[in-house]
Assembly symmetry: none
Homo-oligomer: 529 residues x 2
Amino acid sequence: MAFHVYDTTLRDGAQQEGMNLSVADKLAIAPLLDELGVGFIEGGWPGAVPKDTEFFARAATELNLKHAVLAAFGATRKVGVPAADDPQVRALLDSQAPVITLVAKADIRHVERALRTTGSENLAMITDTVRFLTGEGRRVFVDAEHFFDGYRYDADYAVECVRAAFDAGAEVVALCDTNGGMLPDWVAEIVAKVRAAVGPDAVLGMHAHNDTGCAVANTLAAVAAGAEHVQGTVNGYGERTGNADLITVVANVELKHGRRLLAGHGLEEVTRIAHAISEITNISPYGRQPYVGASAFAHKAGLHASAIKVDPDLYQHIDPTAVGNDMRMLISDMAGRASIELKGRELGFDLAGQGDTLGRIATRVKQAEAAGYTYDAADASFELMLLEEVGGGRPEFFSVESWRTIVERAGSRGTEATAEATVKLHAGGERIVSTGEGNGPVNALDHALRQALARVYPEIADFELIDFKVRILDQMQGTDATTRVLIESTDGERSWSTVGVGPNIIEASWEALTDSIIFGLFCRGVAPR
Amino acid sequence: MAFHVYDTTLRDGAQQEGMNLSVADKLAIAPLLDELGVGFIEGGWPGAVPKDTEFFARAATELNLKHAVLAAFGATRKVGVPAADDPQVRALLDSQAPVITLVAKADIRHVERALRTTGSENLAMITDTVRFLTGEGRRVFVDAEHFFDGYRYDADYAVECVRAAFDAGAEVVALCDTNGGMLPDWVAEIVAKVRAAVGPDAVLGMHAHNDTGCAVANTLAAVAAGAEHVQGTVNGYGERTGNADLITVVANVELKHGRRLLAGHGLEEVTRIAHAISEITNISPYGRQPYVGASAFAHKAGLHASAIKVDPDLYQHIDPTAVGNDMRMLISDMAGRASIELKGRELGFDLAGQGDTLGRIATRVKQAEAAGYTYDAADASFELMLLEEVGGGRPEFFSVESWRTIVERAGSRGTEATAEATVKLHAGGERIVSTGEGNGPVNALDHALRQALARVYPEIADFELIDFKVRILDQMQGTDATTRVLIESTDGERSWSTVGVGPNIIEASWEALTDSIIFGLFCRGVAPR
């Protein structure tokens, strides 16, 4: 059978402190996981968490996954209740997920002290629930919770739980280091013993947490001992110290052992995918993250700088392009130019052979990114920059004389604040003054700007702002910090993104708002009036 | 002989992107490492780096280390030059460090391509330099650079380098995974073979980098294979993905294998020490860091909260007090009454047996979280809510009459926008009107509010806003979306976080700002004036 790469970013990853994923967030992350090429996406716990119920309902119609199969997470039936009568179990069926992953207790102490039942009732709960769900035509995986701690306390009981699951028809039993306290030697020994106990055909999996800093190594140890199913999360998200970082696990196995795990070629895009997911979770990427971190292939200029240029393979453990990352020292050299040339081609500018122009744009991109701009997520702003550099300049649809926004709360706690904005600009040969209201200053500016331009550029009526993201850079500077605003707009046919940066959130928003409208008009072939 | 814990935070750790340690920083970090109980502190490269020369000069008189011995890092002599005549080698002697750690090439490809010399000259460089320095009465350790890659390419040559070092009198040879590409199985196998080649009395060490996410596991694998010297850095600082986190390595060996490595009882203080060092390096602590991270013992899942209350040992891999950390319960919409009771206890409210109150608070938390609030990242806002529900109500330090903020840009593209804010409030029996400017509307409001309260509550002068985060919820609604603002503040002794939510980003920020000041004053025991 094929090796399973089982992603639980949307379920166990969402347990991370400070992470709170909406249904829309989950629906946006799932296609990125699919693009990465994972085999399974655990979407949440339908029935127990209302927004997870909604996720599965919407996933059925809104998601179009190429590789990945959705899995719903849930628990074995309650003590003393038939599986078919347990509403939590029925909700798993109702989710329509083709795979159901059941968490089952495998540590006798948890059975007795937390579940407050007997070892034999817990075994019956496993058997009944697996049998019921497989009988309904679902593939059933079992997460043997606290397995390793349980095994070290009472190995026989822990193995009995695993056997019960397989005997009832479970396709996989994932051994969970729920508290994360294991070390690789222990994992290797225990997985080998379980493998011997359950026989060579049973598919064992590994679910690791990083409390000893060994989640990746523990997962690799389990694979070496015969596990054929690995669970983890993108960017190692998860409760406490996080889950095993699925990216690192997969990159290690694929690039170090030459064993293909992912469908498609997602590994070559994993740096972009990891960062795109962190934009959605709004958790700053960790610079030192293996493979995909911004620093992962960054070399501080020093002793070996010239040698690195001549012979990079001597100084890096893999070719960074294998994971879509870059050696940082080369970013302003050929690699930077090459990617700008490629990007330009994608946008309709042929820059082949224009070394000076490419060098100038590369420098400008580098300066802008150092100041906080990001063009990965703002194609339209990058294209406006290309227009300035090589395309005859930015189209001047309007010129702004001034703008102002006022937010005030006229009363004490409980009174609602009001926001209004005034924009003064010139377009179509006229001077236009327009005031808009909104539920916040950016919304008010957006209204004022659209209203000001509506008569001269009626095309704007089709434009809609569909996403607005704010990220604080340099977080340690409090309200003094630099702000980055990303805006996504649509005209119903295509969508585009723009970026604004500055210490003033309103000014950064204004930059992204005006660029959005300029780009939208430019794309529709509108000429400045 | 005793096991060596060898810290290289001040040398290899300082290679981290964005880290720039002054001599004063290094002099402040060294005593903290000593307090932790490491055996050796590698202070830098005297002779090659001027501030490291100064560090060793000042360390001799200014540092008073209880346990740790200082080590100076340097290289073997230059090609074709006697060790005694090499100024870089002489500078190591001049540093007066009792231990000198020499980096030596152990990969024949690096010898030939980067050093541009022969294998035999490299061996002579090792022999001569070690012999010269031991002859001068110094203890000499050797870092065998690129050892593992070198061994996999040409094992005989790599082992010859190690032998040359020992034969010349080196006390330790540390095998370095300089590029960080090793996996634990490979390390275990290679260290065992080297151990067999050099005999049981030779002291082997391990120096790991985290490029495969396995630095800690690789170090443990080397120890299991017979290494008795481990190198690493506090908080895993270092180039690219960082070095092995010495804290995690030591905690794993001490707490999991029961083997004492540190002098004194520093492990029980390691959370404080790790954070104190991050204050000096000015690199934000990583919340998910094993053992010492702020999230390392934080529990969110509602499922487990009731059981955690009864039996915490079932849900954590070690007792957090063993590393000076604490268990924390995170309040989220998944939390039930049990976690609110636990959180209340943590904050000093005994809610045991108060079912109705707990139910009321749980409902309020769920409603607030549905509206966009998040308490797992905003302890202080949760505590203010508890004060309203079961304490004596929110302390009324001031009452706000109104506030207003204006952001305007008086000119066209390129002109800078200005922000000002006016706050009208009552405190200390007076009506106060205060106007502040800032580089953005929230910064201006923050200034106006602090200025308004400064005379009545001079304690506010100690408060500092250290983190400001904005998250747009329901992103698909464009600038109409709900905004969540999280603010972290400190008074120099403790830090606290507050949350504000609303469609208007300014209003949400105002909520978090005012809660932050109210909570800060409350904690200081200030009474409303």
